[in-house]
Symmetry: C2
């Protein structure tokens, strides 16, 4: 057993393989970018195949290979389950599943794990039943959790070598030019899928909307695509567009949002041309609403918003408050409509968004990011992966990517949730190291990371209540008592890879009642 700089225990075997986390910018790699295998397609040859079964066979998929999917269809996705069912029927075993993330709707993969079809997984997150199953120890090998930027890095550096990518697209032509912004199953940006298409050896586009050549705009170009399969439906539009533009009415969340908005406005980064990212949670949405008011009042317009986009930010773009949106994932119907209709709502790949190993990711130029947390500890480490019971239910997402790279990272978190403290001595699982977190905002006030002496200076005399992170933790513990330690088993069920490829934490098995 090794212990990394954050004091997190990592089994020696994995410590040796991945290296231990040292610092958010410890690694500045130089390497030759990985690349795909190509077989030329000549005039007269067609890429259209009759069925998913046919295309699996023709792709050459074999035992032990790696398959990938994107999660732009969220809870409406039909593609992963459709394809994995056919793969299972064909008797192919021992696959690595390298989805950009895994949703509740992908529960059938539990059976594929039990049947030996899937024996390794890498993903940004694992929700509900799949997360619980993984935490209960159904896999022999630990799942590797990667951030969105970290996944792109792993693919481009060859840590993940995708043999066959099965990529759903709501609009596609016979040669594979594909986008997600048009068609009945539109999901908006195909930012994650673009990376897979570029680096996978075989690329299959699965569509329910075959259009005349050439299909534009082109998110995935034909020269990255081997096969096209048309199916009746690639997803449920309601599940795809999930996440309505709903503002929170919870007074605690509104208070957090108001404080966070003040932190932004009083920071040195709130000036014409500033950039920001805000997620899809209720509080984050409310922050954007408060921020908008101040932007109008003070006539401060943003240069760009990055994301992970919601309808609210797209409206701000349409109203002229945000010049450009660069979008790797469209969270809701409003964002999906916006990327279709607005020229300056521009799709980017997950690599351009956040890959720490490339020639410069967009997060590097981000001023402000507003993020959520399941837990924050007194070292400012953040957990967005495991619940207070230690069970996997979250996603790494772009959390550590944006927190590390932005100039001001703000965590929104109540001090307690129900009977559970949110500000704690030690988070169950570290996704983002404390050094990346600048300000924690709660309903009673904020805590600024002592590393940011400049911010502490800046906020002297601010009207926002300020505490140390220890004081916030004491408040939380005084309300709900000290948390019970979780009874973990010995078995490691997930490795938390930091965006640079090192291991920042490991998650052990939890025996559930």
């Amino acid at each position: 057993m090794s212990v990394n700089k954050l004091g997190r225990k990592i089994p020696q075997e994995y410590a040796d393989k991945y290296g231990l986390f040292v610092d958010q910018f410890d690694r500045k790699p130089t390497y030759r970018r990985n690349s795909a295998s190509v077989t030329a397609v000549l005039p007269g040859e067609t890429k259209l195949r009759d069925s998913i079964k046919d295309v699996i066979i023709e792709s050459g998929l074999k035992d032990g290979m790696t398959v990938s999917f994107h999660h732009h269809f969220r809870e409406g996705d039909y593609v992963l389950n459709m394809v994995m069912e056919e793969i299972a029927k064909l008797g192919i075993k021992n696959l690595t599943l390298a989805s950009s993330s895994i949703a509740n709707v992908h529960e059938p993969i539990i059976e594929h794990i039990k049947n030996g079809v899937i024996t390794n997984i890498t993903s940004s997150g694992l929700r509900d039943k799949v997360g619980a199953a993984i935490s209960s120890g159904i896999m022999e090998n630990p799942v590797v959790i990667r951030s969105h930027g970290g996944r792109a890095r792993a693919i481009e550096m060859g840590d993940i070598k995708i043999d066959v990518a099965f990529l759903g697209a709501s609009s596609c032509d016979e040669y594979g030019n594909a986008n997600g912004s048009h068609g009945k199953s539109a999901c908006g940006s195909l930012g994650y899928a673009r990376v897979d298409a570029e680096f996978a050896d075989k690329v299959v586009i699965i569509t329910d909307n075959l259009v005349a050549y050439p299909n534009t705009p082109i998110s995935i170009p034909q020269n990255h695509v081997d096969y096209v399969v048309v199916v009746d439906a690639i997803g449920d539009p309601n599940g795809i567009a999930k996440g309505a533009t709903r503002f929170t009415t919870d007074p605690k969340e509104l208070l957090i949002a108001e404080y966070a908005s003040k932190v932004i406005v009083q920071s040195p980064y709130f000036k014409p041309g500033f950039s920001f990212q805000a997620g899809s949670g209720g509080s984050a949405l409310a922050v954007a609403r408060y921020l908008k008011e101040t932007m109008i009042e003070k006539d401060v317009k943003a240069g760009f918003a990055l994301g992970g986009l919601t309808a609210h930010l797209c409206e701000m773009h349409e109203e002229g408050l945000i010049d450009t949106i660069i979008d790797t994932q469209s969270f809701d119907r409003g964002a999906i409509e916006s990327i279709k209709n607005n020229d300056k709502h521009y799709e980017i790949s997950a690599s351009m968004y956040a890959n720490p190993g490339n020639k410069g990711a967009s997060v590097n130029l981000l001023d402000i990011v507003v993020l959520s947390a399941l837990e924050v500890d007194t070292k400012f480490n953040v957990n967005v992966m495991t619940g207070s019971d230690g069970v996997i239910r979250g996603a790494s997402g772009g959390h550590s990517d944006t927190a590390a790279a932005s100039k001001l990272s703000i965590i929104l978190s109540p001090i307690v949730r129900g009977r559970i403290p949110t500000i704690v001595d030690d988070v169950n699982t570290v996704i983002t190291p404390g050094q990346s977190i600048d300000v924690v905002v709660t309903e009673i006030g904020i805590a600024i990371n002592p590393l940011r002496t400049d911010l502490i200076e800046c906020f002297k005399g601010s009207d926002i209540p300020q505490f140390t992170i220890e004081e916030l933790k004491e408040k939380a513990y005084s309300i709900v008592g000290n948390p019970e330690p979780i009874q973990y088993g010995e078995k490691v069920v997930a490795l938390i890879e930091y965006r640079d490829g090192s291991l920042i934490d490991a998650v052990c098995q939890v025996e559930r009642d």
Copy 2:
């Protein structure tokens, strides 16, 4: 000395290295795509450099390396000469120049060749003084002529390994997101440059128009760019936008155009949704004008135009006669304006356009292409490279790419030019093999390639005068007499690489008077 299937002599050393041309679709390669070297750019680091000199030094450019440029600025380009001058001043020698093409304006490279700065060249073409200098034998190593698709293939398969790409862009941000459609030096599509940016180890964007981040639309993404240098001017807008929309009034050219238009309309490919490409010459423009009349008359709209685009085709798009334009190079001011303003005038890379080694190029789906020729021979082989004096003055361009891949390739050519026959027994230099050419159109009528028995059947009873290619040649020779054979020297000054990487011809030194 080896002799290929077309009877062309290839020195053994090069025959061994490249292989001999066999057939237009002889090679269907499977390979791992080449890739670039990457050094990560971390938050806080800048890509901006003060001068071209600084960036050459920092790029690590050394003796014996390969540098590349694009030719989207045509006769208005300042970038190549600016950069090569600094390289020469730094004393770097023995470079390979891998420009997408070389224009008249690049005459200073003659001095760089003589001084040993440049010792190898690969390019689509060589014009005027540079072509004449190469033909006179100033280089020890032969220039390698590649088609646009062939160049992309060579880069992606690793035959050309670019160490440093210096890419001019008329609009760019601090992180290197670049396009050619905006700014005072706009050149339209950056289709050639996109390939270099993706595969070169070091990529420098040179711009005279630094804009706020993020610059959209993004032709070259930041994650392919290492450095950005701002200069006063990257080109002369008049030279960049050269090629006015001027219709020919030459009665011979108009007659050729009228026959060509009839060939298209009477062919089986003229139907709703058809696709075509037509070049920028006077006759090609006139073909498009005649074709437009018939399209309106018969209510036949095109699915897409591919190119190499001119203003005339862009107007047809704006008038609803062409649904989509996919554009790897914008030939004139009208095309440059169009790609900026029309969503469905869409930029594509040279690889997507015509690379015969990728997962399917756009030319594969092209119905009709209209091409020019310096010479056509009785085997239908076409020369667009050397003049009747044997001197290099042309460019391979997309000629062999589109001719091979399209369903109907039409060559526009008068039977004589001045006192020189154009239809000959044997072309001086083969760029496109006869098997790729379907119909030769002259001012006295057409010749259909005997290989196309289907077309011969189709045109039985047509009102277009028809001849055998031998008859056309006899006509030409009867007017101007048999051409004098060219007195070539022994030295090979250029290798003509077919799009698949094999050698289709070699050009020898010519002693000029």
